[in-house]
Subunit: 340 residues, 4 copies
Amino acid sequence: MSFLSDTTAPAHPSLIEAIARANTDFAPSYGADAISARVKAQLCEIFETDLEVLFVISGTASNALALSILADPDGAIFCHDEAHIHRDERGAPEFFTQGAKLIPLHGEHGRIDPKSLEAALAQWPRDFLHAAPPQVLSLSQLNEAGCAYSRDQLDALIAPAKAAGLKIHMDGARFANALVTNGLSPAELTWKVGVDSLCMGATKNGALGAEAIILFPSVKDRFARLQARQKRAGHMAPKMRFIAAQYEAWLKDDLWLDLARHANAKALDLKAIFESQGEIGFAHPVEGNELFVHMPAPIAERLRQAGIGFYGWPDGSARFVTSWCTSDADIERVNAALKP
Amino acid sequence: MSFLSDTTAPAHPSLIEAIARANTDFAPSYGADAISARVKAQLCEIFETDLEVLFVISGTASNALALSILADPDGAIFCHDEAHIHRDERGAPEFFTQGAKLIPLHGEHGRIDPKSLEAALAQWPRDFLHAAPPQVLSLSQLNEAGCAYSRDQLDALIAPAKAAGLKIHMDGARFANALVTNGLSPAELTWKVGVDSLCMGATKNGALGAEAIILFPSVKDRFARLQARQKRAGHMAPKMRFIAAQYEAWLKDDLWLDLARHANAKALDLKAIFESQGEIGFAHPVEGNELFVHMPAPIAERLRQAGIGFYGWPDGSARFVTSWCTSDADIERVNAALKP
Amino acid sequence: MSFLSDTTAPAHPSLIEAIARANTDFAPSYGADAISARVKAQLCEIFETDLEVLFVISGTASNALALSILADPDGAIFCHDEAHIHRDERGAPEFFTQGAKLIPLHGEHGRIDPKSLEAALAQWPRDFLHAAPPQVLSLSQLNEAGCAYSRDQLDALIAPAKAAGLKIHMDGARFANALVTNGLSPAELTWKVGVDSLCMGATKNGALGAEAIILFPSVKDRFARLQARQKRAGHMAPKMRFIAAQYEAWLKDDLWLDLARHANAKALDLKAIFESQGEIGFAHPVEGNELFVHMPAPIAERLRQAGIGFYGWPDGSARFVTSWCTSDADIERVNAALKP
Amino acid sequence: MSFLSDTTAPAHPSLIEAIARANTDFAPSYGADAISARVKAQLCEIFETDLEVLFVISGTASNALALSILADPDGAIFCHDEAHIHRDERGAPEFFTQGAKLIPLHGEHGRIDPKSLEAALAQWPRDFLHAAPPQVLSLSQLNEAGCAYSRDQLDALIAPAKAAGLKIHMDGARFANALVTNGLSPAELTWKVGVDSLCMGATKNGALGAEAIILFPSVKDRFARLQARQKRAGHMAPKMRFIAAQYEAWLKDDLWLDLARHANAKALDLKAIFESQGEIGFAHPVEGNELFVHMPAPIAERLRQAGIGFYGWPDGSARFVTSWCTSDADIERVNAALKP
């Protein structure tokens, strides 16, 4: 059993059934199919606004494409120093934007500290010909420390960024997990607080490979550019219906929220077990489906011996990721392995 | 019923079954899964050589990624003026290569005329600092006129290109169809005749979305670069097993060849019907699963009225594409509609 | 003595004197100096309109920067197959535009044939998501065959291009020579006939290294973008005054036209000598300061023996370029060498 | 009189005389001239090694071109957070490298702290497919705080960087000033301590516009690529002799060192005056030709009233730059203005 990553988990069976159902007859290609249209309607309802949406197959593609219509090649993007777009995408944002700079900001628990943003806004002038003008603030929700920004925390960052003319990008690879934690509506956690574009991930939460790039009304006029870039980047899947079908099933009857709720609950179960062990500490609060723990080497070794998979993290902690399919038995196995 | 494009066709059911079978337990992500390894072994056997392979979800991504490791940003790529990479990919090769030039060559029926290649090789010097050096010859098999290069025709182009130091890229979005037409082995039509990299498409021939970039031994040492670019371009699917699973089922027991053989046969059936009609001419030989026909406007109108889908082509012809799922009934409906 | 290229010629002494005069005291850098401002005023007067101008040090930089604000990364630029931007700039336009396609058109004597333009406009749709939309028509004046477009010839190309929404770029590395030949005003040969941006070269006509990118009113609103790109490309010279000073002296009292007139006159002198020789033919009309001649090998050898420099051209002809400093003695030496 | 920047200073007269001398007869273009060859020989002697050199007209071009052959598009470049390449070149390094990431390091007085480098080397893995591999360490000498790295300080950074496989780039816009301060030979401060490529600036130290990109033996094999990129970027000046001529005169008889020595001496004179004033503090040590001072607003105002030019710096200090032509009278005028 594996706590390595939610990308190693299987897909929820209902999504595969949806793919099978979508496999009838001919259908327009490249996103002009009926299922894609239905998903757009679903999303408009869920987000309570008129929006545009495109589907791709990876979070890296999703983030990089969204950023490429928010930042110019000679612009700058502010993000947390540990952001996935900065550390784990092999320079995809730089490739898709054709050269924009990612400026790393700082803050505890993966959250950008408003003071770090303030300093960066002061240091990077917007109208100085010799400097790359800041154009985007990118926020990860959940962030790379597994923490969720609250609405107030978002406000504290988005307000000054907007005042400085920046667009707001949200890397929502684990957006559903953050939503469940916050107990807010999708609208409240995105466009109502100033997010311009959300990269809403499903792959880590039950899909085979489906990510949605959502443009809220503030940037809807850039949709044609986004489509052109999607095509140019080879991300306009010919048989798009099979990606859209995943999304439709995933959104239906709040399955996406149920799956995230399950993953988050299992993370808390795991947390309780770790806490009860006594020698295990936490690098960050557990606010989603990820735990970053400090444990004595012998304990880590014991877990590995028991076949329990997790990653050693660059900061010296151990990362455990739960998912929609983590079972009570999985948790219990950790519990058993912890006992000497 | 639709002859619009093989990308509007559904997927073969056995591929969806394979996806469902692949959906068990955790699996390493990003292509490190067991199915991906098995497909590589299958391909090595089918192509009778040691090769490297990566999977992506569109032909555009496949071509552009392959070209990006064959051409430098300041290099030139020779291709037919009507090549998909030149006309129909929104500049994806330019984007992925970061600026390489596509130099259009000419020739009838979508085939590059050796004289056009010869002229281009003369005009584009390889060691002149002020000019973009030619580095790649890209051949489409089937080509954009639905024609298949024979081995001799490939020889006549590849030999002088190789002599000039060019690498050979093959856009094989419909490679299976060309293979069936030529009656040669996969090896004979690729690396044995000098092809360095094959973009082998499955999407148009029964897959949901699966394309393989194959590096033959001559360029295998560029595999690490290809992987880095795949990641950077957002084309390294987190749950790669679901793409690999399609490929495994598609290759198994020669399904891929059976599907192509079927599509080609239906194209010939359709050709026979058009020929028997008397007023319909052909813009190009029918050598795969595509027909480009000249028909009087009233006939075209009659077909459309009968709900038969096809595209008007830029050259004034009408394109009909058959696929793995074109039925005798589909052909018969055309036949019926043709009768006044 | 050399007819190799006008780039091998020295600079006119008055430009060096101007540089020396500019070398007093401190001056604002990066183009904010007083001389730059004066040259802009000169150019507004010469072109009879309000324009923007930037200086760079090479024609390649000039063309590529201008094109980068006229074409998008996923757009297409129409130019003659032999255009300098296509053949002799190592992909600079592709680099600066970050991937735009150059689509080669055809026509005799380096002039784009209106039929070739018409065909390209038909083949490259403007609103098809899968194709690179044509956005620029680039014309060389003088062109690569040493020929000058007349106003009517410009009209025949620019009118349909404009109707299709294209912007017009003019590569004027030898603009002065074309102007002299046409006997028209600078305005008549540029913005009045629809040119949006002119790359006006001085380097080949007496400068040390000075090229002006001129934006006419139709694209003046892109000036800030051009400045940003100039900086980003390292072409915003810190001590810009020394480039501007060259331009100021070059424009003063019509020196630029006098120099071009001289070069053109010497080309005609050389032409007369070649004609009188009897065995020498011309590949193209002589309409500026370049001659492309067909001569028997022994004659070419005799010229070379006499120390007369010229280039063998890809089309088999021999190119002779006169310049502002070609003397009667230079011409006479050719005459002498031609005699057996 | 101006302490705004050394780029606002005039050129040394001997360089203009050299240009005038170079202006005779025809000369091969694009760097194939005799003067360029002579300067290369001069530099080989000065740096006591076999090297390659190219000339450009701005420091931005020089840095960006050098970096483009040291870093891949998907690589990372470590530099100080305040480095010119990061803050003041409008993303030129990102443009020329086609997407490399600049990773800001930290340290007092513009010097990278070895601990900051150590942390970055730990955080940015070299062989992780998902991360941009670090490939270059860029050091500014003088740095952006006007400070010079000593040989020991260079050692402390270059040794671990080299051990990690990084190439070393030195931004030497004010290299001569750093050399004079250190009292070391050019070789000792560059390749002998591990520098692979030096961007050696003359523009700020007496030239009209001349920067040399020097490749030391460790990267000499990349020279052809550098030339191709120089051409592609429009930085291969057609009449290169006029840039080379500046360099030749500048290097001759150690003029370049004399000019830097003068500028540094005037900076110390200015420092002494500021110190004697009593209320003026220094943000950084004065180790070249730049002073960053903290002064009460009334004093700053008094200086401005006296027509003394300087820039307010982002950190709140006031920057004064001396140059080769700063006179005793200039210094005295500051002295006079300081007195109430």
